[in-house]
Symmetry: C2
């Protein structure tokens, strides 16, 4: 990895020395991926200054990687004509993503500067749901007619190779009216005889997705088959675009973040960026709903405890063990949820093996519960000198931990069975349920043995 | 996505009908990625039967995707000579991964059947740490000498395209003694004039990794730059292999799982497979250490509560609010940790912005704390008819939630600053700390206002 602070130092020195040519050279030598880490660290005055000095294709590569606010800021800082030229170097899907974040008037002002062929393609992309295959795909595709020869195709590929906007992973074969007929790898193309027609060498069992498919399904398909790109067709099997592995990688990272957020009770209806650096009110909105559900659950726990107020008044010391039971129960329950939810999400665990995992976690919960139950029972006995109290606390611990592991396993499977995303807040839900059940069990045990305790 | 149960049905029907040719045809028409989902669903009697009917290259593709137990089971079920032929179709890194899981004798028995050039390459791969770039790379590389022309290179590429084992993303240019000099994309190669030497058109600022680099760094680098492959060199800049995007994708998924496990207190020293389906004892071993730390933390909490035993005896009812405070504090704290740990892991949050995030989370914690504090205060007052009790519980809630959000933010940053992985069990650690502090604050508030409460 490259150390951005060293590059930044170098640039600032070049800027200070006043040698503009040196600065231009330094800047354009930096890989765009490094620039994209650097630009957010610059002040909003420095950014446009440096951006202006970049070659147009590098500026386009960089722009793709930056967050929406900085994209707008930079394109606004330069003449509209130059902005349009830079946009022309970007893949259409990235342009559509950028324009989608602008107001309609602003977005139109950019579209108006682009050649009509390009702007109409981008308008089409903008019409798809942002989270669908259509919203993710690039509409520029290496496509050839089925009747073309290998030689002609190679010529065409060479010509297209001049453009930055086309991805070179596969060549898609279509009929006269753009129906997807087959696919050809570059490897196959260069190893085939020049005069053969592409339809004779293409693979015809093409794995493809529909424009309306959910982006998560698309990413999973692409990653499962290890493809570099997957074609996107409409309902009539017409080739509309391709989705590449880097897009799938990004989607997969986003979806993982959503799963992780959901499992600690953060709403995923609100955009990740908003939660990280957006308005405080949005962040509060994302976090409050599950806290509210926790509140209701804990009020139930409070009522359970209140129900045993005579027991509490008879023996107030029993209250001090409540956090111990809740803490360990919550912790082992969370471990079980985590293992099952993550396994279901990566595909290492399937619904079919639910029975196996439920019994497995039950055994694990019981084993660990016994271990901790004995420790807690002994410690309590030695501390408070009351062996019945030790047994009660220890027994409550065993039941509590076993139950927590069981609940943490059964709940995600049950949610999945009813087609509910198991990641969605199983965490807070189960922690609260464990609190309620744990208290009920503990206080019942205490109440039963009250005669031997005081 | 393809429905595996339909394929399975089809296969079983073909098997039942006794038409072996039909079964062979059906089987070999299935994509290996689908077969890899299917095979674990078959019984251990069916698996070798079906495996035997696969073409050798398909068998090799399938084998790569299966888990180690099934790999061994299948290769053991066929004659050693055939097993060796199948292995020859696999990329060397996959073979090394498979052999690494076997005993030395077993591993040797396979190596002995391979051509010596191949077996010595695999032996070298086996010598690297499994989690290093060397352990991850494929040693078969498209490599050409710097003095070669474009035409010669194209011929060489065509020849190599026949082999399954070589990845075709870039062509690496080396000098006579295999020092990495540059890199060439297939795009550049096919668009260049035939007589030009590759050294004139290659890119010389190659981004590469060292054999000893950690696999996580390698995956991050590859994903950051959007490369399809990255070359691996030794300390003398000699080209040893390449790592491809699908390997990086797998590493990245593994590392994410480790982060997720760590954050709920599951040790990552033990292999994920062991935790999911291995020996129960291994699973217990992975889960007990952090539970034990939680136990110690909660004993501190118990002692804090015990310290206030006079308060508890004077007013046992206060005990019933303990789960409410702990539950909501734990929940909001977990939200903050989740946001910061995930942000640090994806690079959306850096240490440089820690001050911003600490103050942001402090404001969020205070706002949400105020909201829930007021609800809890009112509910308690209306329920128990004591407004001082309402104020005490509400105030404890506000302080507790604010503190939890703050701790959940500061702790991961602090761990990161000292180069400790912030994912490692921040979760259980903070939940326990919040329990201890929350109880101390609550009981202190109650003790101060005891005169107005009873």
């Amino acid at each position: 990895m490259i150390d951005t602070s060293i590059i930044l130092e170098k640039l600032k020195n070049a800027a200070k020395s006043g040698d503009k040519q040196e600065l231009v050279k330094e800047l354009n030598n930096i890989h765009y991926a490094d620039l994209s880490e650097l630009f957010p660290l610059l002040s909003s005055e420095e950014r446009p200054e440096y951006f202006e000095l970049l070659q147009e294709d590098k500026a386009a590569d960089l722009l793709e990687e930056l967050n929406p606010q900085i994209q707008v800021e930079l394109l606004d800082s330069i003449p509209h004509d130059k902005a349009a030229r830079i946009i022309l170097h970007m893949p259409h899907d990235s342009v559509a993503d950028f324009l989608a974040d602008l107001s309609d008037t602003e977005s139109e002002s950019y579209l108006a500067k682009l050649p009509s062929r390009v702007s109409s393609q981008i308008r089409e992309l903008l019409s798809y749901n942002e989270e669908s295959a259509g919203g993710l795909m690039n509409s520029e595709v290496l496509r050839v007619n089925e009747a073309m020869t290998v030689e002609d195709t190679l010529d065409y590929v060479r010509k297209m190779a001049e453009s930055d906007r086309v991805d070179f992973y596969y060549i898609y074969v279509v009929d006269k009216t753009n129906h997807l007929r087959g696919v050809l790898s570059l490897r196959k193309l260069i190893t085939s005889l020049p005069r053969i027609k592409v339809e004779e060498i293409m693979a015809t069992d093409v794995i493809k997705v529909n424009v309306g498919d959910d982006q998560e399904t698309v990413a999973d398909t692409l990653i499962k088959y290890g493809f570099l790109a997957i074609p996107v067709v409409d309902d009539y099997n017409k080739l509309k675009g391709i989705i590449t592995w880097d897009d799938a990688q990004e989607v997969s990272e986003e979806e993982t973040t959503e799963d992780i957020y959901a499992s600690s009770g953060i709403s995923t209806d609100i955009d990740e960026d908003e939660i990280l650096v957006g308005k405080i009110s949005q962040s509060v909105k994302a976090r409050t709903p599950w806290l509210f559900i926790t509140l209701i659950g804990e009020f139930v726990a409070v009522n359970v405890a209140n129900h045993f107020n005579y027991t509490l008044e008879a023996l107030p010391v029993i209250a001090i063990f409540m956090p111990l039971l809740a803490g360990l129960g919550g912790n082992i329950g969370t471990q079980s949820i985590t293992i099952i939810v993550r396994g279901l999400s990566t595909g290492q665990i399937s619904l079919g093996s639910s029975i196996y995992h439920v019994f497995r976690e039950l055994r694990i919960g019981l084993l660990i519960g016994l271990f901790f139950g004995v420790i807690v029972a002994l410690t309590t006995y030695l501390w408070k000198g009351n062996y019945v109290l030790g047994i009660v606390v220890g027994l409550a611990m065993i039941i509590n931990m076993t139950l927590a592991a069981l609940l943490g396993t059964v709940t995600p499977f049950a949610l999945k069975r009813f087609n509910i995303d198991p990641a969605v807040a199983s965490g807070p839900f189960i922690a609260t349920t464990i609190d309620v059940l744990g208290l009920a069990i503990y206080f019942s045990l205490v109440t039963i043995s009250l005669g031997y305790l005081s």
